[in-house]
Symmetry: C2
Subunit: 153 residues, 2 copies
């Protein structure tokens, strides 16, 4: 049977037929995040080599500080925040796009005032994230801006 | 040299360092569209297996009625409109996501009142679009809603 095209409708940052899940289970290296897989999970979407997800970080929350071989494509669609990208910190705002290069430690942070929501495209087949070692954390912290922002378990 | 992560900043539906181009050159089978490649074109983004583009269709405009083997992931980020997806027409609105399945004829239409802008992710390596034959156009037009909306060269 051929794949069927689909329209997944949005309402207030929820999407029709999409389950909102916790970002990850276990660990203390992230805070206050949910995940919705918008395209790529349904049977009819098996033609896609990648997945489209929506992550939302509550005020004051942050994602894991991690790296992996697969790159990320990110587009901010709600609020603003900051991202650690290797040895630097970048502000991110509405519709800014972020390319996270392979093997680059990264961590997204909401502000204290509002949620930060972003689309993220990844390859369907991808390697698992790796958390920084103590040595890697020390190296990242050489930039005071990164040291001030970074959180890790 | 390792790839470098990048942040591509948005302002009024233009992005830093990104050239706005015509959707396609030649042909009369589309109207009033521009294209910006947001991620995947720069040297530093060669880790990506796919491209993130932004298309904007002016009021009254539309994309080509075409099909191809590679699927599309689309997210509406400006305005609203309608899309022909094979044998049906679907309304699309802010942050709705569209999966265009392989080999499905599709055509995006802005309303007459405002531009329709959407993100579109595709594989970097992909087949070329094919326009419908007269026979295929006739088959698509069997649904009156499609017949009323479709434009083809």
């Amino acid at each position: 049977m051929a794949d069927r095209s689909t329209v997944v409708r949005q309402w207030d940052f929820r999407w029709s037929g999409v389950v909102r899940k916790q970002y990850k289970t276990g660990g203390e290296h992230f805070r206050a995040i949910t995940r919705q897989t918008l395209l790529g999970d349904a049977n009819d979407e098996r033609g896609l080599n990648n997945l489209l997800r929506y992550f939302e970080i509550e005020p004051g929350g942050y994602s894991s500080l991690e790296r992996h071989q697969h790159p990320h494509m990110v587009v901010v669609i709600r609020g603003r925040g900051r991202v650690i990208l290797g040895d630097r910190v970048e502000p991110i705002d509405h519709l800014d796009c972020v390319y996270v290069a392979p093997d680059t430690f990264h961590q997204f942070h909401a502000t204290d005032r509002e949620p930060l929501g972003f689309l993220c495209v990844v390859d369907r087949e991808r390697d698992r994230p790796v958390l920084p070692t103590a040595e890697e954390r020390a190296r990242l912290a050489e930039n005071p801006a990164v040291a001030k922002l970074m959180k890790s378990g």
